[in-house]
Symmetry: C2
Subunit: 113 residues, 2 copies
DNA sequence: CGACTCCGCTATTGTTTGCGTAGCAATTGT
DNA sequence: ACAATTGCTACGCAAACAATAGCGGAGTCG
């Protein structure tokens, strides 16, 4: 399993700069989506799988492990997964992305629907 | 080549919701990083390659094509690549990520340095 | 012209990652 | 005991990515 921790060498990020490690961690399949789907509270791994368009459990478990190792999400017995305070902090810092997506949609459709 | 446009079916995103298409587009290798590296202005494809830890040109060109098709970056003759106004808008909406990365680094090191 | 340089981009080959299905052990509820 | 659900894993296959080399085109300068 690949770990993504700041100040450590991470796949493709040889600088060790925190933002690079973060971009690397979040730039993996379903990573952003998983965090996004946890925005409203606890989800079991299978609910999470459903929410993510039935992503294959292999990749899901990889992302969950990575995000857990990074301290962004947590697993609690009989509850499932949820964002940690830190993870909530992360989600809040890219919540503007949602509004942007709407603008993006409007603009893209205006250009060549 | 895979296109990621809002209101269209995108890899893994069967909803067509803009934010899902965006998360899908940005959740590909080097996509976030490319946008990040263009934060200060024009970069030629080779400068961009260098900036992204010598990413292989195959993937870089894929991302550049996708991001260009999405209207987030633009290519100008003899100048190279740069963010479009829309792309700049996107970058601004996840600039908070940089500050978060620092907090994340601090916290992760505090827990188990 | 001809050689040189840098541009964006591609071909090829081998490895890594992700996908899809099935199923595991452990725990909980009936 | 039984079924159902939990988190998680094995396996075979397809897609994505990595690494190297090189293409054609456009400028530059002799």
């Amino acid at each position: 399993m690949v770990e993504a921790r700041p100040r450590r060498t991470v796949r493709g990020s040889r600088t060790g700069r925190p933002v690079m490690a973060l971009l690397d961690l979040l730039g993996r399949r379903w990573a952003l989506r998983v965090i996004w789907e946890l925005r409203d509270g606890w989800l079991t791994s299978r609910q999470l799988r459903e929410a993510c368009d039935d992503v294959s459990p292999t990749v899901l478990q990889s992302r969950l492990s990575e995000l857990r190792a990074a301290g962004l999400i947590a697993l609690e017995h009989r509850h499932g997964y949820a964002l940690t305070p830190l993870g909530r902090d992360l989600l809040d810092s890219f919540l503007p992305l949602h509004d942007f997506a709407e603008r993006w949609a409007a603009e893209a459709l205006a250009e060549q629907g």
